[in-house]
């Protein structure tokens, strides 16, 4: 030993040379003894005394002289013997030291295997492939697997130890993760099958029963939010475990076990949990819990759909209550505001907790579409909401805020099936706003029109835009009128005419009332001016839509400026010549339609603080036997007094019917046009297909009723646009 390496090597070499005789039967035996000794020395950590070159050459010579088989078999049995020794020492390890010992021996075996392979490299290159035997390294691993891992005394002990450690870690103990890592790495090195059969499969089974029990325990005592928190933590723990000491491929398997046991198996119960389930989370805006539920349920099949279904039925139920509650219908603005609030709330939930999931957005939209259309007055209310906002609500609001509100309204508008009804109402409300000069912001009005236009197309808004044009031309016309005719007019009453294009405005033909003489004069002057500048036009006075400012002097020479409607003005002007008039007289002089007259008298005589007329007998309602007197004792703190017309902001029942009827009437030509368009291109089509096509074409505006479509088809047949097929009565033919 003290001589060091080289001299010893030389001695040995000479020894071999001397006895190297080709056919010496003992040669192979002797050489093998040298190599066998070396293998033992390597396992004994005594390799420093060995000469690599010499051992390599010995193995080479054995293979060269056709003793490859002897060498290989010898290696196998020597290694087997050593491994049996090792197995005994591992078995002897007590308790916690078992894994340590196994790991140490594994490291040593690996190192020894590398060195043995170095010596036998030549055999590995030539003899092994030729005789198709297992390469040395693989052989070493296989023997380790068979004699250590699969040995009766170690196999189950190893598995139990690993599973026990993992169980202890799950229960909160600290374990030696590095050691676990080495042991699982060993199993993986021995081949995927070893890792799977001897560890992974039992591990997954044990985990499944662990989580099955734990989830049962949790679900009995936790509320939904807590349960989800615990599940999430367990899931993260398992993923962390995999990253620390298991094969990466195990992650998908173990997470699917946790998902199945903790989520899929209890999904229904969690979603519907009393006082803490999904509906309660939605009501209480529990974003964190909702997000957790979303992220966990997303991992299991049908998880998200179960959330979505419950959310949808909850939305439909609450929405239905909202739109059908008679209390809520009293205030349209409040009604729409509630819808918007509801939408905002759930938009935020989807955005914050559900990661803007498209399927959830769709569920939200379809729910809104469902319940908004449950109430036939929704189009009117939405229009009223806009009316309210554009009249006063937006006063002082910044341009962006206006846009935000209008955008939200448009969102509700999109849910409407009867968009043409909305259009009708919007036209009415817009006309009122424009004619009474109540609109707050021209920009906001136009922005709303633009939005409707982008949503529904040019046709939808062309009339609304026409109204704006009329307002502008009227203004210009009036300036021109006064510029040209001012000297003719003298200082009579001032006239402000809005020239409304027939068709663009929601005007009803109404018999003109008798205007007071002064007004009639200037009206005639305007008429001759206007017809003088525009050829071939007809002017009709819409006295039911106008307003007037008149000055009145009361008892103690109190002067007031009264802001009244045209009708009211006509009535009041009568009292210039007399103090008292009967209802019949007034009706006769003014020729105002009875319904309007009653309303207008009601507002002049029955409203407290604005009663410029006195009625006898005193009562709330106007009857045809009443007499009216100029109220000399009228007082007011204000110089300007606005006399409103008693008119319901919301439509009354008969008016509603009327509007509905007009809408139905308007739909007829649209349906017919659609039928003709379709038939023109298809020539022959059966009834059901026509209904389907028409519905498709018109659904941007409204949802046509199949019965109505059938009537329109019949009408078209009568007018010989279509005919029934002679053979098949279900088919229609287009007649060019």
């Amino acid at each position: 030993m003290s001589g060091g390496g080289p001299p010893r090597k030389r001695n040995f070499k000479i020894d071999v040379f001397k006895h190297r005789v080709e056919l010496d039967p003992k040669y192979a035996e002797r050489t093998w003894k040298v190599l066998e000794h070396a293998i033992h020395e390597i396992y004994n950590h005594n390799a420093s005394g060995l000469s690599f070159e010499e051992l390599y050459r010995s193995a080479y010579n054995m293979v060269l002289h056709k003793y490859g088989e002897k060498l290989y078999d010898g290696l196998e049995s020597t290694m087997t013997w050593r491994l049996k020794e090792i197995s005994r020492s591992i078995e002897a390890a007590q308790g916690g030291l078992f894994l340590e010992e196994l790991n140490t021996k594994w490291m040593e075996h690996n190192k020894a295997l590398q060195m043995i392979r170095d010596i036998l490299m030549y055999m590995d290159r030539t003899y092994v492939p030729q005789s198709r035997r297992t390469p040395v390294h693989e052989l070493g691993l296989n023997l380790w697997r068979d004699h250590i891992i699969h040995s009766a005394m170690i196999h189950s002990r190893l598995l139990d130890t690993l599973l026990d450690l993992i169980h202890r870690e799950r229960m909160g103990e600290m374990i030696n993760r590095g050691l676990m890592r080495s042991i699982t790495k060993m199993l993986m090195d021995l081949g995927a099958a070893v890792y799977q059969d001897d560890f992974e499969t039992p591990f997954l089974e044990v985990s499944a029963s662990f989580y099955s029990g734990e989830s049962q325990e949790f679900i009995e005592c936790c509320d939904c939010g807590d349960y989800l928190k615990k599940s999430e933590r367990r899931l993260n723990e398992e993923m962390e475990r995999v990253s620390h000491y298991l094969d990466a491929a195990t992650e998908a398997k173990i997470t699917s076990v946790v998902e199945k046991e903790m989520i899929a198996n209890h999904m229904h119960r969690l979603v519907h949990m009393e006082n803490s389930g999904l509906v309660n989370m939605l009501i209480d805006d529990k974003y964190d819990d909702l997000a957790r539920m979303y992220n966990l349920f997303r991992r299991v099949s049908d998880g998200l759909s179960s959330i979505r279904d419950v959310m949808t039925s909850y939305l439909r139920e609450t929405g239905k209550q909202l739109v059908t509650d008679p209390e809520r219908l009293k205030d349209p603005v409040e009604f729409v505001q509630r819808l918007l609030n509801e939408k905002d709330k759930h938009d935020k939930i989807i955005n914050v907790a559900f990661g803007n999931d498209k399927t959830f957005q769709n569920a939200l939209n379809s729910s809104f579409e469902y319940f908004i259309n449950l109430n036939t007055r929704s189009p009117e209310f939405i229009s009223l909401y806009v009316d309210d906002k554009l009249r006063k609500g937006l006063k002082g609001a910044a341009e962006e805020d206006v846009e935000v509100i209008l955008d939200k309204v448009m969102m509700l508008f999109r849910y409407l099936q009867e968009k043409d009804v909305f259009e009708k109402y919007y036209k009415q409300h817009l006309a009122k706003r424009l004619l009474s000069g109540k609109t707050v912001s021209d920009d906001a009005e136009r922005s709303m029109i633009v939005k409707l236009k982008t949503e529904c197309g040019y046709q939808f808004t062309s009339k609304l835009e026409g109204m704006f044009t009329d307002m502008k031309t009227s203004q210009d016309t009036m300036i021109d009128f006064y510029a040209k005719k001012s000297e003719e007019l003298g200082d009579g009453p001032t006239l402000d005419v809005h020239i409304l294009t027939t068709g663009s405005w929601p005007t009803q033909p109404c018999p003109p009332c008798n205007l007071p003489h002064e007004i009639l004069t200037i009206c005639d002057k305007f008429r001759s001016y206007y017809l003088g500048t525009h050829n071939g036009r007809r002017l009709t006075w819409q006295t039911n839509m106008g307003t007037a400012d008149i000055k009145a002097t009361f008892g103690k020479s109190q002067k007031h400026e009264l802001n009244v409607s045209t009708y009211q003005m006509c009535v009041l002007m009568l009292f210039n010549s007399t103090d008292g008039l009967t209802y019949k007289d007034i009706e006769q002089y003014t020729e105002i339609p009875a319904l309007d007259l009653k309303r207008c008298l009601q507002s002049l005589a029955c409203v407290k603080g604005k009663n410029v007329l006195r009625k006898e007998p005193m009562s709330k309602d106007i009857s045809e036997d009443d007499t009216f007197y100029f109220n000399d004792k009228f007082t007011s703190k204000l110089v300007k007094v606005k006399i409103g017309t008693v008119v319901a902001q919301k439509e009354s029942e008969p008016e509603k019917q009327e509007t509905r009827q007009r809408v139905e009437e308007d739909r007829k030509p649209q349906i017919e046009a659609a039928i003709v368009r379709i038939m023109k291109s298809r020539r022959v089509l059966d009834h059901n297909s026509i209904v389907a096509e028409v519905t498709k074409q018109l659904q941007a505006r409204f949802l046509p009723n199949p019965v109505v479509i059938k009537k329109r088809i019949e009408s078209l047949i009568e007018r010989e646009f279509l005919e029934r097929d002679k053979a098949d009565r279900k088919l229609y033919r287009y007649l060019a």
Binding site: R10, F52, M121, R125, R132
Partner: protein
Amino acid sequence: MCTPVKGRGRVRLNVGGRMFETTAATLASAGRDTMLGAMLDAAWNNSDCTVAADEEEYFIDRDPDCFAVLLDLLRTGSLHVPPHVTDRFLCREALYYGLLDAVRAARWGPLDGDRLCLAASVPGTATGDGTAVRAAPDGGLCVAHGGAVRVYNWVLEERRPVNLHHAPVNDAAYLDESTLLLAARDRPGGGGGVAAFSALTGDLTHRYRVSHDRQVRPFTPGALAFDPHRGNIFASCKGRFNEYGIGVWDSTAGEQVGFLYEPPGCALGDADKLQWIDGTGTLMAATMFPRTDSSFISLLDFRDKNGVAWSWSDVGTPASSMEDKHVLHAVAMDDGQSLCVINQYDDLGFLDIRSSGNASGGVRWRSRSKLAAATRKKQKRNAPPQRAHGEEETCYPKLAAHGGQLFASTGDAISVFSGPDYVLTSTLRGSDGAGAICDFSIGGDRLFALHDEVNVVDVWETPPAPVI
């Protein structure tokens, strides 16, 4: 030696009595998996005596001359062999050190059809005509002669020949450098079929059987192909009881995994050439004149129930075409987008396989001028009285594609076509008077051409890059 500075990492080697001094890095460049790499590894050098590393001397009991060549190889990466060191000697020593792969890599460069040189000629000793030559992945080869296959390693030393009961061999294919697959004709009394052999020892390792309705039936395999990624072996089969089609086996399990019965109108069992096309995941099967009167080429997709993904046939080509062109050989190009075919006038034609469905006679034949150089020679040779007419007939042109180049054997030469348009760039003409080339094969960066008349195999290699 007057270098006072003892360099770190210096290693002294005593090889057969001659001293060599080099660096540990040079020896480590051989790799841990070699004798020298292992010898210097820390596992073998942690001796107790703390002698300075550069004092130590390693003794190797081998020939110093050869070691000098190998050390030079490790130092420079190029191989310089003095005249007195024979191939056999060098290889034996290289095998000892585990440097055989390094020697082979230094011997010749990556195959480039335009730089090929005739490196060697392997004379045939077998009786009977050679029918096929196949290149092994490591540069070795095998030649099928009637009932046996002669196997050579990459040093061109002959190994034990392989035979399957001496049944005539139709095709051979290397699964890897040590496994050779043989397709031999079925004869009454048995013997034919498909079998795997060890290319190293010549031992039969596995027979691939065909079962119809769970009954093993004898068959004659025609052509072979191998899909190395999925490990599938394909063979065109003619069963003794008229079961025609393509058999598929798993090469590792050795079991039959499928049998695609020939659909009506498709000639599959007769196919003379099979080629696995990796990019498309399909198998090209070509059945060609003169085995049949018309040529039929199809692409088979075994993932598809239908099987035939694309097919082409010259049946029904307009009779008005000037010449009667028979497609004699076909090869799928590397890009997996087209097939190249060749006819009896040595015209090249291309078929687009990307268009789905049946290509109706859409061969784009190339103008014959492209092959003029090769053809002219042939015609000249044909001009003298028809001396070797009988033999001439058996040598049909063959095609191969490699590294974006197209190779076509015509007569006694191989033409190389390069570039996107496959223009003729080189012509390889080997052993003089060896006769026409009846088959050639490319593999292991070598090209082997089997000559008909004297059974000689020419070995073509790309020489290593020039020094400067």
